[in-house]
């Protein structure tokens, strides 16, 4: 099995182990290749792990640094795309702010002395995260889906050959 797919699944499982009890019991944790688009598919909170980038940098004659980026999407329907109804989901900003809060709970596992900062997964170690897409505007405007994607970077650890 490829390292990136093992890492994707291991990262999702590690975060679920840490946070599962503090998120709604109906939360769906899953690995996918693309985020959800249809609002009806994400009426409940979804945490979706996806493959993003892989890069290999040559640092010595027989040593490479492999860098893997795994995307973690926090997704939920916040507005009916047909009717524009937000009443069932509370004010749009309130619902989205709550979801941003869930994203920050995930990120805090990797900050400072966070539980997952030094945890090696699938033969890789944590090397940083980016949160450029705090929400995907097209998903929100057209589909009523709040999608926030955090990019986790992991690097391959030393192995015996």
């Amino acid at each position: 099995m490829a390292t990136q797919t093992q890492l994707r699944d291991a990262l999702l499982a590690a975060i679920q182990t840490q946070l599962g009890a503090s998120l709604p019991a109906t939360t769906v944790w899953e690995s996918r290749y693309t985020p959800h688009i249809e609002a009806e598919a994400v009426k409940e909170l979804h945490i979706v792990a996806m493959l993003l980038d892989v890069s290999t940098e040559i640092i010595a004659r027989e040593v490479d640094t492999d860098e893997y980026t795994i995307g973690l999407a926090v997704q939920q329907k916040v507005r009916d795309p047909q009717t524009g109804d937000v009443a069932s989901y509370g004010d749009n900003v309130t619902a989205c702010d709550e979801l941003i809060g869930h994203v920050e709970s995930i990120k805090s596992l990797f900050r400072g002395d966070g539980a997952l900062r030094h945890q090696h997964l699938a033969g890789c170690y944590f090397a940083g995260l980016k949160h450029e897409m705090q929400f995907e505007p097209l998903h929100l405007a057209h589909y009523g889906v709040f999608t926030s994607i955090v990019e986790f970077t992991y690097r391959s650890e030393e192995t015996d050959e």
């Binding site: 040559i58 640092i59 010595a60 004659r61 040593v63 640094t65 090397a127 030393e158 015996d160």
Partner: protein, 162 residues
């Protein structure tokens, strides 16, 4: 008119560095240094400038050539690293290392480079917070004699594989 690709230059990745770990100087058994990054083989020539009425321009007199070897090394920390053990012994105990720096694998006919006897003069460890643990290594040529006869002085010189 379409031009093809320009002739490129040799790749640093294809050069090779070796330490002799067995055999004799004439029939060496080499250990390849696979975990080296950027390698520099120095070539400064000692000189002294002088001026005389004979010439409107300054001249130089030349002496010996310095051939230090330096590189970045990525040590295996959790597994056996025979190369690092040799570098460390040389650094701590002045173990002399018979080194060959070639432009391609030493088993290939036509490989050219230099060969000399060196001692590790610097073994500096770096632990960058966002990078890989690495060692900055420097070797200087030692005042050595051929271990096969204990008499003939050795100097770094061109080395090639027929």
């Amino acid at each position: 008119m379409t031009r093809g690709p320009s002739p490129g230059a040799g790749a640093g990745l294809d050069s090779e560095l070796y330490i002799r770990v067995g055999g004799t100087r004439a029939a060496p058994v080499w250990l390849r240094l696979a975990r080296v990054g950027d390698v520099t083989i120095g070539g400064d020539k000692n000189s002294e400038s002088f001026s005389s009425r004979e010439s409107p321009t300054e001249k130089a007199t030349f002496g010996t050539i310095k051939v230090p070897i330096s590189f970045t090394y990525y040590r295996r920390q959790r597994f056996v690293d025979a190369v690092f053990n040799l570098l460390s012994r040389s650094h701590l105990e002045n173990l002399e290392l018979d080194i060959a720096a070639m432009d391609r694998p030493i088993a290939e006919s036509g490989a050219v480079g230099i060969r000399g006897t060196y001692i590790v003069s610097k073994l500096e460890r770096g632990e960058p917070i966002n990078g890989t643990v690495n060692y900055s290594v420097e070797l200087l040529e030692s005042d050595s004699v051929d271990p096969d006869d204990n008499v003939t002085p050795i100097s770094t010189s061109a080395y090639s594989i027929p």
